[in-house]
Subunit: 139 residues, 2 copies
DNA sequence: CCGGAGATTAGACAAAGTCCAGATTGCCTA
DNA sequence: TAGGCAATCTGGACTTTGTCTAATCTCCGG
């Protein structure tokens, strides 16, 4: 995966390539996620997008994140019962979650092997396999 | 693991063995979880406990589930962004989650091998490894 | 019987997320 | 250029899950 610049201009192309009409708000939200390459909650996205002056409503942030999810531009990470994280990294990977700090980092899936999973019930298909390693500071 | 009866009477002993003072409400809540051997949300526990007549308050349900968690009597399962599930099965196991129906079932950890996980950051210790297989009806 | 620790409670509160009806935007066509 | 129109955005009410608190209840030991 080649490194690239996540400028606002490049965001427009990225959105179009995922079949998303690039509006001002959508570009800002994509930029917040992709320029940082971090796992962000809706609240954090909201804060980043509205740092200078209020630009984007809460409804739009939530709608847009759901749209990005539907279109496969971002991924949802469910590790904290109190909020969902959105992940600009859609390549197959797992997560390391530091329960005290809430810090979430990626584990490349290529280095990890999972075997022995049971067969799926008939007519079912795997949507994804989430592996979360929960860690904390040693006491 | 030998099969056993999860009668209310046996719940008292189970609670005591986990260093929990067995009160009426705690016995009812434990019974709701253990007699069913299912993953239940706080809301579902609340509903089961209060079927006949209102017996237990919301605060007590939440307090008690947290107490059970602290004492290691139950486990928390985070798969759905909208609610936490409580799991009476504390033996090492993974989960299969049917995203459409919300149905959650166990995968015995003994049949599954996970290898290649990276070393932990220094001073960190693993609290748990959650593996969730998300499946849906084939379209 | 009394005191007090532990447990329970109602209900106010908070945070995350959803929903809706009205306003705005950006095009397309006449 | 002036509508017309579909897509988008918005404030704010609303819902759901979970937390908190201060008052009350329970039960046991002295
Ligand atoms: Mn993509
Ligand atoms: Mn146990
Ligand atoms: Zn990630
Ligand atoms: Zn389970």
């Amino acid at each position: 995966m080649a490194r690239m610049d996540y400028t606002r201009d490049n965001m427009a192309g990225l959105l179009r390539s995922h079949d998303i009409n690039p509006t001002h708000q959508r570009i800002e939200i994509a930029h917040a996620l992709f320029s940082r390459q971090e796992h962000l909650s809706a609240d954090q996205v909201m804060a980043f997008v509205n740092t200078r002056h209020s630009e984007t409503s809460k409804a739009t942030v939530y709608n847009t994140l759901k749209l990005f999810l539907d279109k496969g531009l971002v991924r949802e990470v469910i590790v904290d019962p109190s909020k969902v994280f959105y992940d600009p990294n859609t390549s197959p990977h797992h997560h390391l979650y530091e329960v005290d700090s809430g810090k979430l980092s990626d584990i490349d899936a290529r280095s990890v092997q999972i075997s022995g999973l049971p067969q799926l019930p008939d007519g079912m298909v795997t949507e994804g396999i989430d592996l979360i390693v929960r860690v904390r500071r040693q006491r």
